[in-house]
């Protein structure tokens, strides 16, 4: 179907079902229960899942296929966001021109940065991209204040021209009148599910991008990118020039990042320089490795995993812990809380770091490898026990 092999088609369908049903899947606990803490089905977070999914899918086209580790991809994300907000300021709140421009500008920047950085490979390439990203961050933060509004961040003001804005149109980002923020809440018994326009738009775009990524992976072009990763010497002596191939991959992944940035601005019309900081670049590297670099579904899983932890674990504070351990005698309760405390709330990075270490050491292929191991175990000896199954696939996307 759609020019895909059977296996890829089923993968695409699974991802489509997961994204379309995400409001249900991510809200498995009744709204008032103690476990509601772990519900992730609110619009904001779901949007972030799919937007960072797009970012990571694009990053994987460069890193997973060619092995070139870019440490500056957040720069393209930021450039995308700034482009989109400028379109809102100049033309109006319809998100189409903004998204379109964000892809174009980030593609152009990727062409420039890639052309220079790809003269080197390995660690030197990583450092060059990092340098460019930090330069972009510094420029956006201070020097280019007229363009980026510096520390405050770029946003839309009432005094902005917005040439195509009419009073009939909503005064927040929309797609031909459909507001991105509008949410329909379905209450079913104790449960409540949110259906958000912005989320569904992002999810559809992510599906499209996922489809394109599959096509690239299975194309002769993708084959050449994999060949670059394994042996550039042979590639050279086979009459192929690696430079344009890597540059094309770099530009494509830069455009993915720009699209993610544009969508981010479309969900919340604000663009700040911190979006370009190196920590943001590092995050997408983590997502890709955590999920499984070079696999199709890995980056999406990784993005969901990290965003889930960032938003859910960081919200568990001492009050919540006291509730959880309330049944224990006082001394033990305080002791347990003292132990757990550094790993949750503000300390969620610690948990994430430990998990990242565990995955890199025990599952170098990321979550995807973990899934494969479990699947083969089940296939191998079916009736054997069922202990550590499904738990690692929590944030399905």
């Amino acid at each position: 179907m759609l020019g895909l092999e059977k296996k890829d088609t089923s993968l695409l369908i699974i991802v489509a079902i997961l994204t379309m049903c995400a409001p249900f899947i991510l809200n498995p606990f009744p709204a008032d229960s103690a476990m509601a803490q772990f519900n992730a089905g609110y619009p904001d977070l779901m949007q972030r899942f799919v937007i960072f999914g797009i970012f990571a899918i694009g990053f994987n086209i460069l890193f997973g296929l060619t092995g070139y580790l870019s440490f500056g991809h957040a720069a393209f994300l930021g450039i995308g966001s700034y482009s989109a907000v400028w379109m809102f300021k100049l033309l109006g709140y319809n998100i189409l021109p903004g998204i379109f421009l964000s892809v174009i500008t980030s593609g152009l920047f990727a062409l420039l940065i890639g052309y220079i950085s790809l003269r080197r490979s390995g660690i030197y390439f990583s450092i060059l991209t990092l340098a460019f990203a930090q330069m972009s961050f510094a420029l956006a933060y201070s020097v280019l204040t007229p363009l980026t509004n510096g520390e405050t961040g770029l946003q839309v003001y009432n005094s902005d021209p917005q040439y195509f804005h009419s009073d009939a149109m909503p005064n927040i980002p929309h797609l031909f009148g459909q507001e991105m923020q509008s949410t329909y809440t379905l209450d079913a018994g104790a449960w409540s599910f949110d259906f958000n326009t912005g989320y569904y738009l992002c999810a559809l775009i992510m599906l499209g991008m996922f489809y394109i990524a599959i096509r690239i992976f299975r194309s002769p072009f993708g084959l050449m990118l994999k060949a670059i990763k394994t042996n550039q010497t042979r590639l050279n002596y086979t009459g192929l020039n690696p430079r344009p191939y890597t540059l094309a991959a770099f530009v494509i992944s830069g455009m993915y990042a720009g699209l993610a940035g544009g969508l981010m601005a479309s969900m919340d019309p604000l663009a700040g320089a911190e979006r370009m900081q190196w920590t943001a670049s590092g995050e997408v590297v983590l997502m890709t490795i955590l999920g499984g670099a070079g696999t199709l579904i890995g980056p999406v899983l990784g993005a969901g995993f990290i965003k889930y932890f960032e938003n859910i674990f960081s919200k568990i504070n001492d009050t919540v812990l006291h509730q959880w351990f309330a049944f224990l005698p006082d001394g033990i309760e305080d002791f347990l809380i003292a132990i757990v405390h550094p790993f949750v709330g503000k300390g969620w990075h610690l948990t994430l770091g430990l998990m990242f270490m565990a995955i890199v050491i025990f599952l170098p292929g990321g979550l995807v490898e973990g899934g494969q191991k479990i699947a083969s175990k089940f296939r191998g000896k079916k009736a054997k026990d069922d202990a550590p199954a499904a738990s690692d696939t929590t944030p399905a996307e």
Binding site: R215, R218, P220, F221, L223, K226, G239, L240
Partner: protein, 252 residues
């Protein structure tokens, strides 16, 4: 006028004169062997032919066109393929993919942005790749990952990758180094077979005299960066100069 003309080529690495005044002409459709003791400059000479090194002096022309200053991939696109001393293959890819890549390179040139075509749909490429794997008797191994094969198989795979491009000139850098006797003989048979089937010129650098004398039509002996003699195999065996420089120690 040969297909490959090397004139007055010299190359210096710091204080070492690796090549000096090398003149060599490889005639079309012949197998030309370059032999010589270790450090004679054989590999340096080969690297000067494929664009990895640029000689300090002299000229290298292939079919009348200069090769100097061209990049390795450009030289390959002109019809020169190279087999390495240690097999250079795409280790993480399957055997079939390994062979498909040179097919694409031969068809599409050094770069083509065909990101939305499917590899599966390329029937002509698949047929060519299957045919060459049949030739080197590796068709049954096509779904194996290249890195998991034996050394001999890796060499044959690399040979197949070069041959599938139908090069006019095939450069072989010790194609049987580290092979068992049986594998060496298989390689000799394979090269002979190829030579019979198509119009191809081969330049072989080799230590194994058995290989050299079974294949070569002309032999150039290189010593200390300069060609000593160029002769037919029959005349090389008894040549006093060669004995002195090389065969004396090698006992053939």
């Amino acid at each position: 006028m040969g297909i490959l003309e090397i004139k007055n080529v010299g190359k210096r690495f710091g204080g070492l004169q690796a090549l000096s005044d090398v003149n060599l002409s490889v005639a079309e459709n012949t197998v030309h062997a370059i032999i010589g003791p270790n450090g004679a400059g054989k590999s340096t000479l080969l690297n000067c032919l494929v664009g990895k090194l640029i000689p300090d002096t002299g000229s290298v022309t292939f079919q009348g066109q200069s090769l100097l200053g061209r990049k390795p991939h450009e030289i390959n696109q002109m019809g020169v393929s190279r087999v390495f001393q240690t097999p250079e293959i795409f280790a993480e890819l399957t055997v079939f993919e390994n062979v498909m890549i040179p097919c694409f390179a031969a068809r599409d040139g050094s770069f083509k942005l065909n990101a939305l075509n499917a590899v599966r749909g390329q029937n002509d490429i698949k047929e060519t790749a299957e045919a060459i794997l049949e030739d080197v008797k590796m068709l049954d191994k096509r779904h194996m990952t290249a890195s998991s094969m034996s050394r001999g198989d890796k060499r044959r795979l690399e040979m197949a990758m070069c041959l599938v491009q139908e090069p006019k000139l095939l450069l072989l850098d010790e194609p049987t180094a580290g092979m068992a006797r049986a594998d060496t003989n298989n390689t000799i048979d394979l090269l002979k077979e190829i030579k019979e089937k198509r119009d191809i010129t081969m330049a072989i650098i080799e230590h194994d005299m058995h290989v050299v004398f079974s294949l070569a039509e002309r032999i150039t002996v290189l010593a200390q960066g300069t060609p000593l003699v160029e002769e037919t195999p029959e005349n090389i065996k008894g040549h006093p100069k060669v004995r002195e420089a090389y065969l004396g120690e090698a006992q053939v």
